[in-house]
Amino acid sequence: MSNFRELDSVLARINTMSCESRENCAMVSSKGRHARRRSDWHKADDEFFQESYPSGPSNANDTEAGYEDIQGKTLKIGDIRYTERIELDDRIAKIKTRAEPMGRKRILLREARDEPSPRSEIVGPISAHRKQACHNTRICWRDNAKLFVPFTALLKSIQGRFGSGLASYFIFMRWLLALNLVMSLFMLLFVVLPAISGNAESGSICNKRDPFSAECCHETYENSTLVSTGFDAVFDFATGTGWLELTHLFYGHYPNVNVRLQFLEWTYVFPLAYILTCSCCFLVSFMWIVYEAAKGFRESLVNEKGSFHVYCNVVFAGWDFSIKSPKSAAVEHSVITNELKSLLHAEIIAEKRKSMQSSERWKLRFKRMFGHFCATATLFGSGFAIYYASKLGLENARISDGNQTKEEIAGIEVPDFVMEYVPSVTITVLNVVIPPLFGILSVFEGYSPDQQVNFQILRTIGLRLASIFFLMASFYSIMCPAGSFECTGTKCKAPPCWETYVGQELYKLVWVDLVFSLAMVFIVGSLRKVVSSAIPLLQVDFDLPRQVVDLVYSQSLCWLSILFSPLAPLLHVLKFLVVFYVKQFHLKVICAPSLLLYRASKSKALFMGALLLSFLAVTLPIGLLVLEVPPSRSCGPFRGRTHMWGAVVDSIKEWPVWIKAVFGFLTTAGFVVPALIVLILCLYYYYAMAAAHRSMVSRLQDQLILENRDKQFLREKLEALKKSTGRSSVAEATPLRST
């Protein structure tokens, strides 16, 4: 009798542990009640052994529970069995996702089709062959949409040869192309086309009595801009001055009055349109970047300690199944080997570091601080170099009012044309020369390879952004203060149309960037490839982080120049197309196969993060410009106003009173401060929830281990009991389920 009591308690514990769902629990506990009958604990055995391999791939063979999602749940009420009816399409979708061989699926499909549906009695037997075309519209959409995406075949071949990590770089470039296309579409539709095709309404004409009014300034400016011919015209194309300055490429040529469109007979408030379209472009970029980043974030999970399995990731998901060529396969083998070896190596180093003496630790800390200090000093140094170079260029721009004097740099005579390029060339040269120095610095600092790459990328991005900032700062330093009523300003030293000047500088920067990257690929790359057959050290590597920083830099230049040259996105579309093919040439012909495993998920997160950072950094100076700096009086859609945002404010003034009241309230401190407080509280709430979940997870993991040990213990006890009561035949009748 005591044996049965023990059996009861054992079975009760087993049953509570193997409860997977409410229904199962109900069935199982009822069995527990009758456990005194010896025959019943055969079934308890079944439940117990089945639970050890519950929803495995090949468990669905004989049990009814495996087919509930296809055949519907059955409920027995009294003597009648009610079966849930599932739609045919849903059934087929479920059958498709079963991990079973084709023959079995075919049988299931036939069963599903042959079952009579209640509709058939009314409508007539449903034809066995349903229509082929698009019975599932979502799949149809997806298949047809794939035809319109360009470059898929090209990207597939890159993926086959170089792996998904490098292919993701080109996918990122294609996405940037799409973004720029959308932005250029906006600008073309709402800014450029109305300006070209519309007739400016009769604004005020230059009144000779007031030579410093905006209109007269504009006339003076347009007449004084030199239009050169012949060879100089070609140079002007590259520098953005001369004839190119007076086209719709730059800000200066746009009207500042309402425009009457030819075909539609509408008045188009041009200044408002200009500023709103630019803001729209920024908003669309921001939303699209955040959307893509969130998508990637959902797929690649948070790199938290303990929740990201590094070794499992390499072993189970490391091999790229799309690799086809033997060379790439050999490379992939060595890449995975290297990755595993470096992981092991990093562990050893981490161990060593933990057991370091405190004196060594201080030495390491000092080394790192020194490294950071050096990097920051380099950033500021290059920033000031750019500032000085830009000031030089500004002085040159001012002097070009008819006297083609030759400028002097450090006593050497330099032609005017070269002077135009001093700021852009300085920036680009610094961007090329300094990052390798950062690389050497990070090795000296003694970080792990992963951290090295991160620091390298951060510092390179910092360099690029710093160069842009210092350039903008040099422009800002020569702006006229608000309230000056002169055209060109002999008092303040700005060029007559400073927005166009800024646009030109950025235009030249884009050109120099393109020329430099072409030169690096074709000239330097070919030289190094020829030499590397003799000296392997000089091999060219496709350094993915640096290439990504280049792309992100180009895109931030595009965002900066939208306000000053509305056709900038279009230019960048062309530039990215050229760069796309050039980089492919670089990768396929010049580069040696890389020994670093670039994982697609990590790369995508990196790209989006860098892009978001640059975007936020770019909106700062632009926002400042729009809100604070007075636009020039001689040109552009905002001439005569105190600041650019005034165009929006003026049109808001014409709206009904209650909207103005709402907007007025939204900008006061009485709204902003509570809103900020609420936001901070929400953030803190989510942070606290995340911390609580984390501790819950670790507690549950410990509990799982304990449960498993309990299960083992009980299993052994069950075996012992079986043997002692002579039921060894049961063990043979219900063998442990295996695949």
Binding site: E299, Y311, V315, F316, W319, S322
Partner: protein
């Protein structure tokens, strides 16, 4: 499409479309590739039961360009074939390509990946399975101690209930936290 005689009957095509993640064009392309492997034994018209009966043996199967360089090609063919022989009929081949295609969802890929890594077919990923997987991946680039440490690390990361082997649930749990699985476990035909 210009064929006087079509490769499959419409019923067969519809069944294939319902049972796999392929469209009609993909299925016909897959048949063409299957035939290229062994044009003598595989007919160009499969309106009867040829798709279930005619098999291509393992060594010929391994010459498929998409599989040729894959260290797991043998296991792939074995998992999708009957009796683990590695010889695939067209049905099995289509099944395999459908599971590895872009449209197949995570749960079916995880289920088959588990079977692929389970070299000894015991329903668990034990030490020997993982050691063999690591050796195949690095094609012998790591020595025995390193492989031992790596498998130990994997067990440390993935074996939640501490029984010395990875069950299917634990494998599922690992793959949920492996962001590269879906992009890498993918063959386009």
């Amino acid at each position: 499409m210009g064929n006087r005689k079509s490769v499959f009957t419409p019923e067969q095509l519809e069944e294939y479309q319902d049972a796999t993640f392929f469209t009609r064009k993909d299925i016909l392309r897959a048949q063409k590739r299957f035939r290229e492997l062994s044009p003598i034994s595989v007919p160009s018209i499969m309106t009867g039961s040829e798709a279930q009966t005619i098999t291509v043996p393992l060594d010929v199967m391994e010459t498929l360009p998409e599989l040729k360089e894959n260290p797991f090609r043998k296991r792939l063919c074995q998992v999708f074939s009957k009796n683990n022989s590695g010889a695939l009929t067209f049905d099995d081949f289509l099944d395999m390509m459908s599971v590895l295609s872009e449209a197949s969802p995570r749960q079916i890929r995880v289920a088959y990946a588990f079977r692929i890594f389970d070299y000894n077919d015991d329903g668990y990923l034990g030490w020997s399975d993982l050691e063999q997987a690591a050796n195949e991946l690095t094609s012998g680039g790591l020595d025995k101690d390193e492989v031992h440490v790596i498998v130990g690390k994997i067990m440390e990361e993935g074996d939640i209930d501490d029984d010395g082997k990875l069950s299917f649930i634990e494998f599922q749990h690992i793959i949920e936290r492996t962001p590269d699985f879906m992009t890498n476990f993918h063959v386009r035909i």
